[in-house]
Protein backbone atom coordinates (compact mmCIF):
# COMPACT_ATOMS: atom_id res chain seq x y z
CA UNK A 1 0.00 0.00 0.00
CA UNK A 2 1.39 3.40 -0.92
CA UNK A 3 2.40 5.92 1.74
CA UNK A 4 -0.26 8.42 0.69
CA UNK A 5 -3.00 5.83 0.94
CA UNK A 6 -1.66 4.53 4.26
CA UNK A 7 -1.69 8.06 5.60
CA UNK A 8 -5.48 8.11 5.45
CA UNK A 9 -5.95 4.91 7.36
CA UNK A 10 -6.69 6.70 10.62
CA UNK A 11 -10.20 7.02 9.18
CA UNK A 12 -11.57 3.53 8.57
CA UNK A 13 -12.67 2.78 5.02
CA UNK A 14 -16.38 2.97 4.50
CA UNK A 15 -18.02 -0.43 4.50
CA UNK A 16 -19.27 -1.13 1.00
CA UNK A 17 -22.20 -3.45 0.54
CA UNK A 18 -22.38 -5.65 -2.50
CA UNK A 19 -25.37 -3.69 -3.77
CA UNK A 20 -23.84 -0.21 -3.20
CA UNK A 21 -23.49 2.02 -6.23
CA UNK A 22 -19.93 1.64 -7.46
CA UNK A 23 -17.60 4.42 -8.51
CA UNK A 24 -15.03 3.53 -11.13
CA UNK A 25 -12.33 5.70 -12.66
CA UNK A 26 -10.85 5.00 -16.09
CA UNK A 27 -7.44 6.57 -16.74
CA UNK A 28 -6.27 6.76 -20.34
CA UNK A 29 -2.96 8.37 -21.26
CA UNK A 30 -3.18 10.84 -24.15
CA UNK A 31 -1.31 9.81 -27.33
CA UNK A 32 0.86 7.83 -24.93
CA UNK A 33 3.95 6.68 -26.88
CA UNK A 34 4.12 9.92 -28.86
CA UNK A 35 3.74 12.04 -25.71
CA UNK A 36 6.53 10.12 -23.92
CA UNK A 37 8.82 10.74 -26.90
CA UNK A 38 7.86 14.42 -27.20
CA UNK A 39 8.63 14.82 -23.48
CA UNK A 40 12.05 13.14 -23.72
CA UNK A 41 12.97 14.41 -27.18
CA UNK A 42 12.11 18.14 -27.17
CA UNK A 43 12.96 18.53 -30.88
CA UNK A 44 9.70 16.70 -31.68
CA UNK A 45 7.46 18.88 -29.50
CA UNK A 46 4.61 20.70 -31.24
CA UNK A 47 5.39 18.76 -34.44
CA UNK A 48 3.73 15.81 -36.15
CA UNK A 49 5.47 12.76 -34.66
CA UNK A 50 4.69 9.16 -35.54
CA UNK A 51 5.89 6.33 -33.34
CA UNK A 52 5.98 3.28 -35.57
CA UNK A 53 5.89 -0.42 -35.12
CA UNK A 54 8.26 -1.51 -37.85
CA UNK A 55 11.57 -3.30 -38.40
CA UNK A 56 12.80 -0.66 -40.85
CA UNK A 57 11.86 3.00 -40.59
CA UNK A 58 13.18 3.80 -44.04
CA UNK A 59 10.69 1.36 -45.57
CA UNK A 60 6.93 1.66 -45.98
CA UNK A 61 6.32 -1.45 -43.87
CA UNK A 62 4.64 -1.51 -40.47
CA UNK A 63 1.98 0.48 -38.72
CA UNK A 64 1.73 3.66 -36.69
CA UNK A 65 1.66 2.70 -33.01
CA UNK A 66 0.96 6.26 -31.83
CA UNK A 67 0.50 9.63 -33.48
CA UNK A 68 1.02 12.97 -31.75
CA UNK A 69 -1.97 15.31 -31.70
CA UNK A 70 -0.21 17.46 -34.31
CA UNK A 71 -0.15 14.43 -36.66
CA UNK A 72 -3.77 13.49 -35.92
CA UNK A 73 -4.87 16.80 -37.45
CA UNK A 74 -3.80 15.32 -40.79
CA UNK A 75 -5.90 12.19 -40.33
CA UNK A 76 -3.07 9.91 -39.21
CA UNK A 77 -3.77 7.90 -36.07
CA UNK A 78 -2.63 4.67 -34.41
CA UNK A 79 -3.30 1.70 -36.65
CA UNK A 80 -2.68 3.68 -39.86
CA UNK A 81 -0.16 1.91 -42.09
CA UNK A 82 3.26 3.55 -42.38
CA UNK A 83 2.70 3.69 -46.15
CA UNK A 84 -0.52 5.69 -45.77
CA UNK A 85 1.06 7.91 -43.09
CA UNK A 86 4.04 8.73 -45.32
CA UNK A 87 1.73 9.65 -48.17
CA UNK A 88 -0.27 11.98 -45.95
CA UNK A 89 2.61 13.34 -43.88
CA UNK A 90 5.88 12.95 -45.82
CA UNK A 91 7.69 15.54 -43.68
CA UNK A 92 6.60 14.32 -40.24
CA UNK A 93 9.12 12.74 -37.84
CA UNK A 94 9.03 8.94 -37.83
CA UNK A 95 10.66 7.03 -34.97
CA UNK A 96 10.60 3.41 -33.86
CA UNK A 97 8.73 2.60 -30.65
CA UNK A 98 10.83 2.09 -27.51
CA UNK A 99 8.61 -0.24 -25.50
CA UNK A 100 11.05 -0.57 -22.57
CA UNK A 101 10.71 3.16 -22.08
CA UNK A 102 6.89 3.08 -22.26
CA UNK A 103 6.72 0.17 -19.80
CA UNK A 104 8.91 2.11 -17.37
CA UNK A 105 6.48 5.03 -17.55
CA UNK A 106 3.50 2.68 -17.19
CA UNK A 107 5.01 1.30 -13.97
CA UNK A 108 5.31 4.84 -12.63
CA UNK A 109 1.72 5.57 -13.70
CA UNK A 110 0.41 2.50 -11.87
CA UNK A 111 2.39 3.43 -8.75
CA UNK A 112 0.53 6.75 -8.75
CA UNK A 113 -2.86 5.05 -9.34
CA UNK A 114 -2.22 2.68 -6.42
CA UNK A 115 -2.29 5.64 -4.07
CA UNK A 116 -5.98 6.10 -4.77
CA UNK A 117 -7.29 2.56 -4.32
CA UNK A 118 -6.16 -0.96 -3.66
CA UNK A 119 -8.55 -2.15 -6.38
CA UNK A 120 -6.59 -1.27 -9.52
CA UNK A 121 -6.88 -3.11 -12.82
CA UNK A 122 -4.09 -2.58 -15.34
CA UNK A 123 -6.15 -2.69 -18.52
CA UNK A 124 -3.46 -1.99 -21.11
CA UNK A 125 -0.08 -0.31 -21.40
CA UNK A 126 -1.72 3.11 -21.04
CA UNK A 127 -5.06 2.43 -19.40
CA UNK A 128 -6.22 1.46 -15.93
CA UNK A 129 -9.49 1.05 -14.06
CA UNK A 130 -9.69 2.09 -10.40
CA UNK A 131 -12.62 1.05 -8.22
CA UNK A 132 -12.73 3.97 -5.78
CA UNK A 133 -16.09 3.07 -4.18
CA UNK A 134 -14.47 2.52 -0.79
CA UNK A 135 -11.70 5.11 -0.99
CA UNK A 136 -13.07 8.22 -2.77
CA UNK A 137 -14.14 9.81 0.54
CA UNK A 138 -10.49 9.93 1.63
CA UNK A 139 -9.87 12.46 -1.12
CA UNK A 140 -13.21 14.33 -1.00
CA UNK A 141 -15.57 13.30 -3.79
CA UNK A 142 -15.04 11.02 -6.80
CA UNK A 143 -14.42 14.16 -8.87
CA UNK A 144 -11.83 15.41 -6.34
CA UNK A 145 -10.12 12.01 -6.52
CA UNK A 146 -9.98 12.16 -10.31
CA UNK A 147 -8.72 15.76 -10.33
CA UNK A 148 -5.98 14.90 -7.84
CA UNK A 149 -4.94 11.78 -9.73
CA UNK A 150 -4.80 13.64 -13.04
CA UNK A 151 -2.73 16.46 -11.53
CA UNK A 152 -0.31 14.01 -9.90
CA UNK A 153 0.25 12.22 -13.22
CA UNK A 154 0.87 15.55 -14.96
CA UNK A 155 3.31 16.69 -12.27
CA UNK A 156 5.28 13.49 -11.76
CA UNK A 157 5.31 12.08 -15.29
CA UNK A 158 5.02 15.34 -17.23
CA UNK A 159 2.36 13.58 -19.31
CA UNK A 160 -1.36 14.19 -19.62
CA UNK A 161 -4.14 11.67 -19.21
CA UNK A 162 -7.87 11.76 -19.71
CA UNK A 163 -10.04 10.53 -16.91
CA UNK A 164 -13.59 9.22 -16.86
CA UNK A 165 -15.65 8.60 -13.73
CA UNK A 166 -18.79 6.49 -13.74
CA UNK A 167 -20.79 3.81 -11.93
CA UNK A 168 -19.01 0.98 -13.78
CA UNK A 169 -16.12 0.23 -16.14
CA UNK A 170 -18.15 0.69 -19.32
CA UNK A 171 -19.42 4.17 -18.39
CA UNK A 172 -16.04 5.23 -16.98
CA UNK A 173 -14.29 4.20 -20.20
CA UNK A 174 -16.84 5.95 -22.40
CA UNK A 175 -16.59 9.03 -20.18
CA UNK A 176 -12.80 9.23 -20.58
CA UNK A 177 -13.26 9.22 -24.36
CA UNK A 178 -15.63 12.19 -24.29
CA UNK A 179 -13.00 14.87 -23.59
CA UNK A 180 -9.42 14.48 -24.80
CA UNK A 181 -6.65 15.40 -24.24
CA UNK A 182 -6.40 16.19 -20.51
CA UNK A 183 -10.17 15.77 -20.15
CA UNK A 184 -12.12 14.93 -17.03
CA UNK A 185 -15.69 13.68 -17.34
CA UNK A 186 -17.83 12.57 -14.42
CA UNK A 187 -21.06 10.78 -15.31
CA UNK A 188 -23.67 10.26 -12.61
CA UNK A 189 -26.10 7.38 -13.24
CA UNK A 190 -29.02 9.82 -13.57
CA UNK A 191 -27.20 11.78 -16.31
CA UNK A 192 -26.56 8.68 -18.40
CA UNK A 193 -29.50 8.81 -20.85
CA UNK A 194 -28.97 12.49 -21.69
CA UNK A 195 -25.26 12.05 -22.38
CA UNK A 196 -25.27 8.66 -24.11
CA UNK A 197 -28.49 8.75 -26.18
CA UNK A 198 -27.21 11.05 -28.97
CA UNK A 199 -23.83 9.31 -29.31
CA UNK A 200 -23.24 7.00 -32.29
CA UNK A 201 -23.37 3.27 -31.45
CA UNK A 202 -19.68 2.83 -32.13
CA UNK A 203 -18.93 5.00 -29.07
CA UNK A 204 -19.61 1.80 -27.10
CA UNK A 205 -16.21 0.16 -26.61
CA UNK A 206 -15.94 -2.84 -28.87
CA UNK A 207 -18.55 -1.82 -31.45
CA UNK A 208 -16.55 -1.84 -34.64
CA UNK A 209 -17.28 -1.21 -38.27
CA UNK A 210 -18.90 -4.59 -38.80
CA UNK A 211 -21.33 -4.37 -35.87
CA UNK A 212 -22.08 -0.74 -36.76
CA UNK A 213 -23.09 -1.86 -40.26
CA UNK A 214 -25.32 -4.65 -38.85
CA UNK A 215 -27.02 -2.19 -36.49
CA UNK A 216 -27.33 0.41 -39.24
CA UNK A 217 -29.16 -2.17 -41.37
CA UNK A 218 -31.92 -2.38 -38.75
CA UNK A 219 -32.10 1.39 -38.32
CA UNK A 220 -29.98 1.71 -35.17
CA UNK A 221 -27.43 4.50 -35.40
CA UNK A 222 -27.35 6.04 -31.94
CA UNK A 223 -27.10 4.62 -28.44
CA UNK A 224 -30.56 6.08 -27.77
CA UNK A 225 -32.01 4.07 -30.68
CA UNK A 226 -30.20 0.98 -29.41
CA UNK A 227 -31.77 1.44 -25.97
CA UNK A 228 -35.22 1.70 -27.56
CA UNK A 229 -34.80 -1.50 -29.60
CA UNK A 230 -36.67 -4.49 -28.14
CA UNK A 231 -34.22 -6.68 -26.21
CA UNK A 232 -35.81 -9.77 -27.83
CA UNK A 233 -34.88 -8.45 -31.29
CA UNK A 234 -31.29 -7.83 -30.20
CA UNK A 235 -31.04 -11.34 -28.77
CA UNK A 236 -32.59 -12.86 -31.89
CA UNK A 237 -30.28 -10.94 -34.24
CA UNK A 238 -26.96 -11.03 -32.36
CA UNK A 239 -27.29 -13.67 -29.64
CA UNK A 240 -25.50 -13.07 -26.34
CA UNK A 241 -23.61 -10.13 -27.80
CA UNK A 242 -26.93 -8.51 -28.68
CA UNK A 243 -28.05 -8.77 -25.05
CA UNK A 244 -24.81 -7.28 -23.77
CA UNK A 245 -25.02 -4.46 -26.32
CA UNK A 246 -28.59 -3.71 -25.33
CA UNK A 247 -27.56 -3.52 -21.66
CA UNK A 248 -24.59 -1.34 -22.61
CA UNK A 249 -26.97 1.16 -24.19
CA UNK A 250 -28.41 1.71 -20.70
CA UNK A 251 -24.92 2.01 -19.24
CA UNK A 252 -25.25 -1.35 -17.49
CA UNK A 253 -22.03 -3.28 -16.94
CA UNK A 254 -21.52 -5.69 -14.06
CA UNK A 255 -17.92 -6.61 -14.81
CA UNK A 256 -15.75 -6.08 -11.73
CA UNK A 257 -12.49 -4.16 -11.55
CA UNK A 258 -10.08 -7.06 -11.21
CA UNK A 259 -7.11 -5.98 -9.13
CA UNK A 260 -3.63 -7.28 -9.75
CA UNK A 261 -2.68 -7.91 -6.13
CA UNK A 262 0.94 -7.67 -5.25
CA UNK A 263 2.75 -9.45 -2.49
CA UNK A 264 -0.07 -11.93 -2.01
CA UNK A 265 0.10 -15.64 -2.40
CA UNK A 266 0.48 -16.50 -6.06
CA UNK A 267 -2.73 -18.04 -7.39
CA UNK A 268 -2.04 -18.10 -11.09
CA UNK A 269 0.44 -17.27 -13.80
CA UNK A 270 -1.01 -15.64 -16.86
CA UNK A 271 -0.25 -13.49 -19.81
CA UNK A 272 -2.51 -11.67 -22.22
CA UNK A 273 -2.26 -9.58 -25.36
CA UNK A 274 -4.56 -6.87 -26.65
CA UNK A 275 -5.19 -7.10 -30.36
CA UNK A 276 -6.34 -3.56 -31.11
CA UNK A 277 -9.17 -3.89 -33.61
CA UNK A 278 -9.31 -7.63 -33.17
CA UNK A 279 -8.59 -10.76 -35.16
CA UNK A 280 -10.75 -13.69 -36.24
CA UNK A 281 -7.81 -15.57 -37.79
CA UNK A 282 -7.80 -18.75 -35.69
CA UNK A 283 -4.37 -19.87 -36.87
CA UNK A 284 -2.89 -16.53 -35.91
CA UNK A 285 -4.67 -16.59 -32.53
CA UNK A 286 -3.28 -20.08 -31.83
CA UNK A 287 0.24 -18.77 -32.49
CA UNK A 288 -0.41 -15.78 -30.22
CA UNK A 289 -1.51 -18.28 -27.54
CA UNK A 290 1.75 -20.18 -27.99
CA UNK A 291 3.74 -17.01 -27.27
CA UNK A 292 1.57 -16.34 -24.22
CA UNK A 293 2.02 -19.93 -22.96
CA UNK A 294 5.78 -19.51 -23.37
CA UNK A 295 5.67 -16.32 -21.31
CA UNK A 296 3.42 -17.67 -18.55
CA UNK A 297 5.30 -20.96 -18.11
CA UNK A 298 8.64 -19.15 -18.20
CA UNK A 299 7.54 -17.11 -15.18
CA UNK A 300 6.28 -20.31 -13.50
CA UNK A 301 9.67 -21.96 -13.91
CA UNK A 302 11.42 -18.83 -12.67
CA UNK A 303 9.26 -18.76 -9.54
CA UNK A 304 9.38 -22.55 -9.09
CA UNK A 305 5.69 -23.29 -9.62
CA UNK A 306 3.81 -26.06 -11.41
CA UNK A 307 0.15 -25.87 -12.37
CA UNK A 308 -2.57 -28.29 -13.39
CA UNK A 309 -5.43 -26.15 -14.71
CA UNK A 310 -5.35 -24.03 -17.85
CA UNK A 311 -7.73 -21.16 -18.52
CA UNK A 312 -8.13 -19.26 -21.76
CA UNK A 313 -9.61 -15.80 -21.80
CA UNK A 314 -10.95 -14.24 -24.97
CA UNK A 315 -12.41 -10.77 -25.23
CA UNK A 316 -14.78 -10.51 -28.17
CA UNK A 317 -15.05 -6.92 -29.28
CA UNK A 318 -14.21 -5.73 -25.74
CA UNK A 319 -17.81 -6.26 -24.72
CA UNK A 320 -18.08 -9.96 -24.35
CA UNK A 321 -15.63 -11.87 -22.19
CA UNK A 322 -15.23 -15.59 -22.56
CA UNK A 323 -13.30 -17.63 -20.06
CA UNK A 324 -12.87 -21.38 -20.45
CA UNK A 325 -10.81 -23.68 -18.27
CA UNK A 326 -9.89 -27.31 -18.10
CA UNK A 327 -7.57 -29.61 -16.17
CA UNK A 328 -4.20 -30.75 -17.47
CA UNK A 329 -4.39 -34.10 -15.72
CA UNK A 330 -1.14 -33.47 -13.87
CA UNK A 331 1.25 -30.72 -12.86
CA UNK A 332 3.49 -29.07 -15.44
CA UNK A 333 5.46 -25.89 -16.09
CA UNK A 334 6.19 -26.59 -19.75
CA UNK A 335 4.65 -24.53 -22.57
CA UNK A 336 3.91 -27.41 -24.98
CA UNK A 337 1.31 -29.18 -22.88
CA UNK A 338 -0.27 -25.92 -21.70
CA UNK A 339 -0.52 -24.71 -25.30
CA UNK A 340 -2.11 -27.97 -26.53
CA UNK A 341 -4.88 -27.61 -23.97
CA UNK A 342 -5.24 -23.84 -24.43
CA UNK A 343 -5.50 -24.29 -28.20
CA UNK A 344 -8.29 -26.86 -27.78
CA UNK A 345 -10.18 -24.41 -25.57
CA UNK A 346 -9.75 -21.64 -28.14
CA UNK A 347 -10.82 -23.81 -31.08
CA UNK A 348 -14.04 -24.71 -29.28
CA UNK A 349 -14.98 -21.01 -29.49
CA UNK A 350 -14.52 -20.84 -33.25
CA UNK A 351 -18.21 -20.10 -33.80
CA UNK A 352 -18.07 -17.04 -31.51
CA UNK A 353 -14.93 -15.80 -33.26
CA UNK A 354 -16.68 -15.95 -36.61
CA UNK A 355 -19.29 -13.53 -35.26
CA UNK A 356 -16.94 -11.21 -33.43
CA UNK A 357 -13.13 -10.94 -33.63
CA UNK A 358 -10.99 -11.43 -30.53
CA UNK A 359 -9.65 -8.11 -29.25
CA UNK A 360 -7.70 -9.68 -26.42
CA UNK A 361 -6.55 -13.20 -25.65
CA UNK A 362 -5.02 -14.47 -22.49
CA UNK A 363 -3.93 -17.70 -20.94
CA UNK A 364 -3.41 -18.55 -17.30
CA UNK A 365 -2.30 -21.58 -15.36
CA UNK A 366 -3.90 -22.13 -11.94
CA UNK A 367 -4.15 -24.84 -9.30
CA UNK A 368 -0.52 -24.26 -8.46
CA UNK A 369 1.94 -26.20 -6.37
CA UNK A 370 5.49 -25.26 -5.46
CA UNK A 371 8.00 -27.45 -7.28
CA UNK A 372 9.84 -27.99 -4.01
CA UNK A 373 6.66 -29.29 -2.32
CA UNK A 374 7.07 -32.80 -3.59
CA UNK A 375 6.26 -32.23 -7.26
CA UNK A 376 9.83 -32.57 -8.49
CA UNK A 377 9.06 -35.24 -11.02
CA UNK A 378 5.81 -34.90 -12.86
CA UNK A 379 4.34 -37.17 -15.46
CA UNK A 380 5.08 -34.54 -18.09
CA UNK A 381 8.59 -33.94 -16.86
CA UNK A 382 9.06 -37.61 -17.61
CA UNK A 383 7.08 -37.70 -20.84
CA UNK A 384 8.46 -34.43 -22.12
CA UNK A 385 12.07 -34.89 -21.21
CA UNK A 386 13.14 -33.20 -24.44
CA UNK A 387 10.86 -30.21 -23.90
CA UNK A 388 12.04 -29.88 -20.31
CA UNK A 389 15.65 -29.88 -21.52
CA UNK A 390 14.91 -27.30 -24.23
CA UNK A 391 13.03 -25.12 -21.72
CA UNK A 392 15.99 -25.25 -19.34
CA UNK A 393 18.37 -24.10 -22.09
CA UNK A 394 15.99 -21.35 -23.21
CA UNK A 395 15.68 -20.18 -19.58
CA UNK A 396 19.45 -20.05 -19.22
CA UNK A 397 19.81 -18.04 -22.43
CA UNK A 398 17.07 -15.61 -21.39
CA UNK A 399 18.46 -15.24 -17.87
CA UNK A 400 21.77 -14.27 -19.33
CA UNK A 401 20.90 -12.28 -22.44
CA UNK A 402 17.36 -11.04 -21.81
CA UNK A 403 13.84 -12.10 -22.72
CA UNK A 404 14.27 -11.32 -26.40
CA UNK A 405 17.44 -13.41 -26.75
CA UNK A 406 15.67 -16.45 -28.14
CA UNK A 407 12.27 -17.18 -29.66
CA UNK A 408 10.48 -19.96 -31.52
CA UNK A 409 10.82 -20.01 -35.30
CA UNK A 410 7.03 -20.21 -35.55
CA UNK A 411 6.71 -16.90 -33.69
CA UNK A 412 9.20 -14.95 -35.82
CA UNK A 413 7.38 -12.21 -37.68
CA UNK A 414 4.10 -12.88 -35.85
CA UNK A 415 3.62 -9.14 -35.31
CA UNK A 416 3.67 -8.56 -39.05
CA UNK A 417 0.88 -11.10 -39.53
CA UNK A 418 -1.48 -8.92 -37.53
CA UNK A 419 -3.29 -6.42 -39.72
CA UNK A 420 -4.72 -4.23 -36.95
CA UNK A 421 -3.06 -2.15 -34.25
CA UNK A 422 -1.29 -4.33 -31.70
CA UNK A 423 -0.79 -3.01 -28.23
CA UNK A 424 1.33 -4.75 -25.68
CA UNK A 425 -0.65 -5.78 -22.67
CA UNK A 426 0.95 -5.84 -19.32
CA UNK A 427 0.18 -8.75 -17.07
CA UNK A 428 2.55 -8.36 -14.14
CA UNK A 429 5.08 -5.72 -13.25
Amino acid sequence: MSPAFRGHLCAPPRPVSRTAVRTVIHVDMDAYFASVEQRDLPIYRKKPLLVCHTDDLSSYRGIVAAASYEAREFGVKSGTSVLEAKLKLPHAAYIAGNYEKYLHNTRLLMQICEKYTDCLEVYSIDEAFLDITATAHFFGSPRDTAVRLQAEVAKKLRLTCSVGVGPNKLVAKMASELKKPFGLTVIEPEDLPGIFAPLPVDSIPGVGRRMRRHLDAIGIRTIGQLAEAPSGLMREKFGVIGEILHKAAFGIDDSPVVPSYKGMEVKSFGQSLSLGKGSADVEYLCDVLLGLCDGATRRMRKAGYLGRTVAVYICLGRLFDLSRRTGLGCYTDLPGRVHDVAKDLLLRERASLDVYPATKVGVSVTNLAKREDGQQTTVFDVLDEKEAAVAAVVDRLKNRYGEKAVTRCSLIGIRNRYKGAPRAEIGIF
Binding site: D40, L41, I43, A93, K101, R400, Y401, G402, E403, A405
Partner: protein, 85 residues
Protein backbone atom coordinates in the same frame (compact mmCIF):
# COMPACT_ATOMS: atom_id res chain seq x y z
CA UNK B 1 15.41 12.59 -38.17
CA UNK B 2 16.73 9.64 -36.15
CA UNK B 3 19.80 7.56 -36.89
CA UNK B 4 20.44 4.17 -35.27
CA UNK B 5 24.01 3.70 -34.02
CA UNK B 6 24.16 0.94 -31.35
CA UNK B 7 27.91 1.29 -30.69
CA UNK B 8 29.94 1.07 -27.48
CA UNK B 9 31.07 4.47 -26.19
CA UNK B 10 33.11 5.88 -23.32
CA UNK B 11 31.12 8.01 -20.90
CA UNK B 12 32.15 10.22 -17.99
CA UNK B 13 29.51 10.28 -15.28
CA UNK B 14 29.08 11.53 -11.73
CA UNK B 15 26.84 10.46 -8.86
CA UNK B 16 24.50 13.24 -7.73
CA UNK B 17 22.32 12.53 -4.68
CA UNK B 18 22.27 8.81 -5.36
CA UNK B 19 21.66 9.18 -9.08
CA UNK B 20 24.07 8.57 -11.88
CA UNK B 21 24.44 11.56 -14.17
CA UNK B 22 26.39 11.23 -17.46
CA UNK B 23 28.32 14.45 -18.16
CA UNK B 24 30.17 13.76 -21.41
CA UNK B 25 30.99 11.00 -23.90
CA UNK B 26 33.43 10.17 -26.64
CA UNK B 27 32.05 9.05 -29.94
CA UNK B 28 33.48 9.09 -33.43
CA UNK B 29 36.73 10.49 -31.99
CA UNK B 30 34.86 13.55 -30.76
CA UNK B 31 34.21 14.70 -27.22
CA UNK B 32 30.52 15.47 -26.63
CA UNK B 33 29.65 17.56 -23.57
CA UNK B 34 26.18 16.80 -22.22
CA UNK B 35 24.25 20.00 -21.56
CA UNK B 36 20.95 18.43 -20.43
CA UNK B 37 19.43 15.07 -19.55
CA UNK B 38 15.93 15.13 -21.02
CA UNK B 39 14.79 11.63 -20.03
CA UNK B 40 15.75 8.55 -18.03
CA UNK B 41 14.19 5.10 -17.82
CA UNK B 42 15.08 1.77 -16.33
CA UNK B 43 14.74 -1.67 -17.88
CA UNK B 44 16.35 -5.05 -17.60
CA UNK B 45 18.34 -7.17 -20.04
CA UNK B 46 18.51 -10.66 -18.65
CA UNK B 47 19.64 -10.34 -15.04
CA UNK B 48 21.24 -6.93 -15.61
CA UNK B 49 19.58 -3.65 -14.75
CA UNK B 50 19.95 -1.13 -17.55
CA UNK B 51 19.33 2.60 -17.78
CA UNK B 52 18.39 4.52 -20.88
CA UNK B 53 19.22 8.24 -20.97
CA UNK B 54 18.22 10.85 -23.52
CA UNK B 55 20.79 13.63 -23.44
CA UNK B 56 21.40 16.86 -25.31
CA UNK B 57 24.79 17.73 -26.71
CA UNK B 58 24.97 20.73 -29.00
CA UNK B 59 21.79 20.82 -31.08
CA UNK B 60 21.37 17.06 -31.17
CA UNK B 61 19.75 14.57 -28.81
CA UNK B 62 21.49 11.28 -28.08
CA UNK B 63 19.99 8.12 -26.63
CA UNK B 64 22.66 6.37 -24.58
CA UNK B 65 22.35 3.29 -22.37
CA UNK B 66 24.18 1.76 -19.45
CA UNK B 67 24.16 -1.98 -18.79
CA UNK B 68 25.05 -2.27 -15.10
CA UNK B 69 25.82 -5.99 -15.43
CA UNK B 70 28.52 -5.37 -18.01
CA UNK B 71 29.24 -1.81 -16.82
CA UNK B 72 29.17 -0.81 -20.48
CA UNK B 73 27.75 2.28 -22.16
CA UNK B 74 26.38 2.37 -25.68
CA UNK B 75 25.20 5.05 -28.03
CA UNK B 76 21.89 3.79 -29.37
CA UNK B 77 20.40 6.57 -31.47
CA UNK B 78 20.85 10.18 -32.51
CA UNK B 79 17.93 12.54 -33.13
CA UNK B 80 17.98 15.69 -35.17
CA UNK B 81 21.48 15.01 -36.41
CA UNK B 82 22.45 17.90 -38.63
CA UNK B 83 26.07 16.94 -37.95
CA UNK B 84 26.27 14.71 -41.01
CA UNK B 85 26.09 11.31 -39.32
Amino acid sequence: MAVDVHEPIEVSAVFVRGRLKPVSFMWSRRHHKISEITGVYKYSAGTSACYGYTVRSGDDLYEISLNTGEMAWRLERIHGCESGV
